[in-house]
């Protein structure tokens, strides 16, 4: 791979509070220097004038459906979707078929990623065997095989005693627990938020308390065990309140929110739009405002997509029979730049921190930084490029985006992993 000089971009590196126009010199797949007016000797030169150069985005919550459901997505298509979106690393959830509850599956994912992936892929392993919520999975062996976190995402661990033991064990091996907070007895057969839209459409509602009661339980257990707890896809104002209060007390907790929960409400389910059906569900305008506030003030640490691909035919069914979940890797950056950075809820460096630096810290991953010596995992963003979301053009195998037809401003134009280009919008358009 050739050496590259990225010249004259606005370099944003939240890990060093760096934000200035500079050149980035990449040699041997690593960042060699970040400074103004670097010599280009022997390098390919990439003019980044008017563009933003940032550490590659890291999504700590995606579903790649590999192994077992590769008609929805696989490591190749999912990682290419990530690269298109400006991501250089993703952590993939354990609810595959079979689930990631055995070291062999972790090894499969890592070796498959080496063969086909367009970004770094970090497996998240199951907390419980078969995601059944009954017995602990072999946590130490999973950690040794390379799992970066533990999660039964898709459901909460229903048994508080079991979760307490899992937290103790996870702390011992140094992995965070990522919890999908949902009390199944409160969600029941619900399919949308229990509010105005559920009432109008005659759909079974999922109340906000379904999330918040488990958040409360988990915070108490994290406090007691000292385990690192990460709350996945926070959707409700009540959960935000609990997390804020726990952080003030020093509980080792972090949290994430998705671009769709930051931009859509239950009213957007419209006339039974299954591409707006996800779990947790879209909630009220008040919840949305609380999530934005919590993201801005740091109560919520990270923006993660919860990229959840489903085939077109699977979503083209009765609303209550459609699977939960929407894709997000290819739209997250554009949605964040347009709807959070644009109106001033986050600054651009803060957006990069929440989509790169902070996830790297929470999972203990390389990346999230442009320090000299680091692997050259980076993204070049055109912050002004206006584009319209067209799912048919996605690299993802699935099409279930809630943002179809939206016009966004800002997009990844080049993504690089270890100095290798994985997405090049300008090049692609020239050769097309």
């Amino acid at each position: 791979m050739s050496d590259v000089l990225i010249r004259g971009g606005r370099v944003v590196d939240p890990s060093r509070e760096f934000d200035a126009v500079a050149d980035v010199l990449i040699r041997g797949g690593r960042i060699e220097a970040v400074a103004p007016d670097l010599p280009a000797a022997g390098c390919d030169v990439l003019d980044a004038g008017g563009l933003v150069v940032a550490p590659g985005l890291i999504d700590m919550h995606v579903h790649l459906r590999d192994p077992g459901q590769t008609h929805k997505e696989d490591l190749g298509t999912g990682s290419r979707a990530a690269a298109q979106g400006g991501y250089t690393a993703v952590a993939c959830m354990a609810n595959t078929v079979p689930p990631v509850d055995h070291p062999v599956v972790v090894e499969y994912l890592r070796s498959r990623a080496r063969e086909v992936a367009a970004c770094r892929v970090y497996p998240v392993a199951a907390i419980t065997k078969g995601l059944q919520g009954r017995e602990l999975s072999p946590i130490a062996a999973l950690a040794a095989a390379g799992a970066v976190a533990l999660s039964d995402d898709g459901a909460a661990v229903p048994d508080a005693g079991l979760l307490r033991r899992a937290m103790g064990y996870a702390r011992m091996v140094g992995l965070p627990i990522i919890e999908h907070c949902e009390d199944a007895s409160l969600s029941g057969s619900g399919v949308v938020h229990d509010g105005g839209q559920a009432a109008r459409l005659g759909l079974v509602g999922i109340p906000s308390e379904s999330e918040a009661v488990i958040v409360a339980r988990d915070l108490l257990l994290a406090e007691a065990t000292g385990a690192r707890l990460h709350i996945a896809h926070v959707s409700a104002a009540a959960s935000v309140r609990l997390i804020r209060e726990a952080k003030q007390r020093g509980v080792p907790v972090s949290a994430e929110v998705t671009p769709h929960h930051l931009t859509l409400t239950d009213a957007d389910v419209g006339e039974f739009d299954t591409n707006r059906k996800m779990n947790p569900p879209l909630r009220t305008a008040a919840d949305l405002a609380a999530l934005r506030q919590a993201l801005a003030d740091g109560t919520i640490d990270v923006i993660a997509t919860d990229h959840a691909p489903h085939a077109v035919e699977e979503k083209r069914v009765e609303f209550d029979r459609a699977p939960f979940g929407v894709i997000g890797l290819e739209t997250a950056l554009g949605v964040v730049l347009t709807h959070l950075v644009g109106p001033g809820i986050l600054t651009l460096p803060e957006a990069v921190r929440r989509m790169s630096t902070r996830p790297a810290q929470l999972l203990g991953l390389p990346g999230g930084s442009l320090r000299p010596g680091d692997p050259a995992d980076l993204v070049i963003i055109d912050p002004h490029l206006a584009w319209t979301v067209r799912a048919e053009a996605f690299a993802s195998r699935s099409r279930n985006t809630p943002f179809e037809g939206w016009t966004l401003r800002g997009r990844a134009v080049l993504t690089m992993v270890g100095g290798r280009v994985t997405h090049d919008l300008v090049g692609a358009e020239v050769t097309a």
Binding site: A199, G202, F272
Partner: protein, 325 residues
């Protein structure tokens, strides 16, 4: 060709157009012939009453009826709902009458077929022709809808009948109160401007129309109510309780009644009950609905030549333009 999916979608003018057409049929007007039309009945949930009523309506219009015994059809073989529906479209159906346990199922169909879709009840969402029956019945007895106070009592949360009636009455200018046990009320008003309360007394006070809903303890309401006896004790409509309503109030029920639960026998069979009249209005309302959906009659009776000429058909084929109130 158009869809009748929900009274929420219809403007007041269209609702009045449909009621007027149903009333003319009720008064004995001969229906215009829908030459060669084919209407398919897709009942994914058994409802003898509604299905019979639609079949009779289609036959009286001279349409050919395609029955679908869903239990025995390809649904069992794992074919998707949409696949089955498209088969009926391919068989030449001009209109699909759909009863389905999933809220929104007719909306899904309407997005993927080229023929008319009529919602005959979808999950907990709407039952628009039943709503029209209720409106027509009240209009026959009271001579108007605007200005009336309508109390709808029972399992509001799960009732598609309540939703359609609430939309219909509210759109035509009535004030609507939805009342039921707290566990059977939705988290928010299902219709803007409609009150939701767990107080039966508030709902009944001064009501011109009292509509009781069927409690289906064996189905949705299970778990939300301890016993039917408890429901009867707290929300059953007795003569004493009806004394809170206006003396000339109209008592309705979509049927079949659990006597002694939603309504005491004296109320159900009393002089204020219009339950039989509701049943009798069912066929005419469904005739009007089918004609309207097919674009034949009910305010859209245009010769083919006129329909082809954009200007004229835009002017006349949109009953939305009709002024009411």
């Amino acid at each position: 060709m158009r869809h009748l999916l929900a009274l929420r979608d219809l403007d007041p003018g269209t609702i009045v157009t449909l009621l007027d057409a149903a009333q003319r049929l009720r008064d004995g007007e001969a229906p215009p012939s829908p030459a060669g039309a084919t209407v398919a009945m897709l009942f994914y949930e058994p409802s003898t009453r509604t299905e019979m009523s639609f079949i009779l309506a289609a036959r009286r219009l001279g349409a050919e009826v395609l029955p679908c015994a869903v239990e025995h059809s390809s649904v069992r073989k794992g074919e998707s709902f949409l696949d089955t529906v498209r088969t009926f479209e391919a068989l030449g159906a001009d209109a699909l009458v759909i009863r389905h346990p999933s809220s929104g199922a007719p909306h899904l169909v309407a997005r993927h077929v080229g023929c008319a879709v009529i919602n005959a009840g979808d999950g907990m969402h709407e039952h628009p022709t039943q709503g029209l029956v209720d409106l027509l019945t009240v209009r026959q007895v009271k001579g108007r809808i605007a200005g009336l106070k309508v109390a709808i009592v029972g399992d509001i949360l799960h009732s598609r009948v309540a939703r359609s009636a609430a939309w219909g009455f509210a759109k035509l200018g009535a004030s609507v109160v939805l009342a039921g046990p707290a566990t059977l009320l939705p988290a928010a008003p299902p219709v803007p401007g409609v009150a939701v309360t767990a107080s039966l007394a508030d709902a009944l006070a001064g009501a011109d129309v009292v509509m009781a809903l069927r409690v289906q303890l064996e189905r949705q309401a299970g778990g939300a109510l301890p016993t039917l006896a408890e429901y009867a004790r707290t929300f059953g409509l007795t003569e004493e309780r009806l004394a809170l309503a206006r003396p000339d109030c109209v008592v309705m029920h979509p049927g079949p009644v659990n006597l002694g639960v939603e309504l005491g026998a004296a109320v159900a069979e009393g002089p204020r009950s219009v339950i039989r009249r509701q049943v009798a209005n069912g066929v005419c309302v469904r005739m009007a609905a089918i004609q309207w959906a097919l674009g034949r009659g009910a305010g859209a009776e245009l010769p083919a030549a006129a329909t082809a000429a954009g200007e004229i058909s835009r002017g006349r084929a949109r009953p939305e333009a009709v002024e009411v109130h």
